[in-house]
Amino acid sequence: MKYDVLIAGVGGQGVVLASRLLALAAMKAGFHVSTAETIGMSQREGSVSSHIRIGEEVSGSLIPIGQADLILGLEPAETLRNLPFLRKGGKILVNTHAIPPASRPPGSPEYDPSALLSFLYTNYPDIFCSDFTELAAEVGTYRAANVAMLGAAAGARVLPFSEETLKAVLDAEIPEKYKAVNKAAFERAIKCIRFVSGT
């Protein structure tokens, strides 16, 4: 068994925390896990991605091109940037909430989130898109969009472990102060995705 997840977003969106939570859940389910994170120059406002490799063997932490089973895109442009990692038939969950780049250096293409989202809808008809930032803001803070997306992934049953395993990790890892709001975002996202997919 191998299951590769790529989380893509922008610095400050909680990509690294989300990948840690997935990795811990995978370990709890008895798998080996290996993650690679972008830390350093690109931390603030830059593109950030985290590779989470789950399986029965220890592997290098970078997912090869065309091997990711799931992409969790916290931001539309960052989702597209990482699409070549997705395998044929892989799943995508996208947060439609766009974060425009800080400055537009000469030569940088204009950011048109709706054009990018329609590219995704056209090419991946079974993609799941929602404004997880808004969903998280509704239950308390836009910052919990990362955990909301984990909830959506659990709700869509696209993870190699149970919703309960992930919930137990959230319980153990999220500081008391932020626990209620993160759990609420997680649960709301599960409900939302189950409602949409009619399950």
Binding site: M27, V58, S59, G60, L83, P84, K88, P101, S103
Partner: protein, 623 residues
Amino acid sequence: MTDKKLLMGNEAIALGAIEAGVQVVTGYPGTPSTEALETIARYANRCGIYTEWSSNEKVALETAAGAAYSGAKALVTMKQVGLNVASDPLMSLSYIGVKGALVLLVADDPGPHSSQTEQDTRAFGHFANIPVLDPAAPQEAYELTKLAFELSHEFEIPIILRTTTRVSHSCGDVEVEVAEPVAVEAVSGGFIKDRRWTIFPKLTAERHPWLESVQVKLSERFSDLSFNSVSGSGKIGIIASGVSALYVKEAVKTVKGFKELFTLFRVGTVYPFPEQAVLSFLKGIDRLIVAEELDPYLEEQVLQLIGKAHLPVDVYGKKNGFFPVSGEYNVDIVIDSVNRALTAFGDNLRLSPASPAISREKLPPLPIRAPTLCAGCMHRTVFYAFKQAAKQLKKEAQVDTIFSGDIGCYTLGNAYPLNMVDTCLCMGAGISLAGGLFRANPKAKQVAFIGDSTFFHSGIPAVVNAVYNGADITLAVLDNRTTAMTGHQPHPGVGLTVLGKASKAIDIADVVRSCGVEFVRTVDTVDTDSLEDCVKAAKEAMNFKGPSVIVFKGKCVGITKPDKYYKIKPEDCTGCGFCVKELGCPALNLAEDKPVIQDSCSGCGLCAQICPSEAICIGGIKL
């Protein structure tokens, strides 16, 4: 009792060092090495481990060496370019050796992701006669750390544990022997006076044969270790070390019957080269592929060995163009490169890469997210002030200004639209480069920017030189009270140690004054009307004949809470976009026809100070 934890490579190294009984830990922050010392610092009080952020890597290594002379088990942490700074003591230390144990964690950065160089510490170890261990993943990093301490103690020589970004900054499940770190033993014995601790030409001449003999003994020992492992039984050999070995393992699995087609040799102890073990591997194969990031280190070692033993094995690696000579590797690069070699063999066999759902070329154009200074960063105010001062000087006196940067967050001053870094070389170099630029461009003004931590790291000798030799330069110290780029470590100017204990805060203005700088100003950047003061001070300093220093005092928005935010008054905003185009602040976006200030505004007020229509004002208080 063993336990399984999710650990970053650097955390695994820290726990390995504590289990090995490390007593003294020193280092200087540097991506991707920083978290190792930070993890040990968290256990320092509980386990009785002396831990410090030193002022630079040379100082860190010398401090650790002094402890190790006295029987202590010591660890020093740094990134690869830090080893350059520490190379002076290291080159001599190999002759002197140690008594307790001394392990250097040196993190390389293929890519590079956040470094000036793509240098290879395996080759550095070879050059310095210092053994090098090269883990592939966090579990192995933990195990090799413990081995490093054992070997250093037994052979009385420093050992380098060399990692790369994908080892230090990967997280993985690690099985540790001790679930919770326990107290380490106190240093026993202490320093014993002996002529062996005082390097002298005669002593070096006596010690050199010993140093060479250790290399031979360690090569023999390494040949028996399970960290150097063989798998498969094919006639095509592949040798690799570090994380590349894991890429090779995954790449060959894409063909059926790979175990009968390939024999893989994974080198965990790269220097001294485990010759005996590699020799028996070479005797079983026809052809050899070498997969390694950075230098062709293994390739040169095997070529030598093949020549020495007259073996009929062709080698396919970087030196004959089969593998990329630079950059970070991954499974796809290994598959491509191995396939190039298989093609050259005339073999029909190919490794098969996965076919992606979509290729990069088919994606619509995507916006570039260039790394940038944070919203409200004090550096932006200072860079912008110097930009204005230089513009005025150009207008008034037709004088050009050259801006020399340095290593830290403020290297980002080079980014569009500030464009305020004309040179950047290495830690502390900006000041001396400005001195040299002055000699060759006497009519131009020279301004050097340096951060507070970098100033203490290696800026001071350059200030002394500027005063001593009368270089007409202006130094802007960007004092945000932290080592920001590497994750906010304290430094000698902050008044706190790594453990959060109070220490004497060294005042940068006092230091430069005592170095003999006659023009010294301190300017506060925190006030929301500070731009005018900054421009005025910059101009005065640039007009001063001789070395001048301005210490810009501020705060790092990464570790302080903003107290207010700004907003655009739509009725006054003309939509000229000047604020967005001039500053490149991530909190300012040009939406539709007028700029919008985002939630990330931390209230520096710089945009309000430059708005030609005075259309930006305080929007409210941040709680």
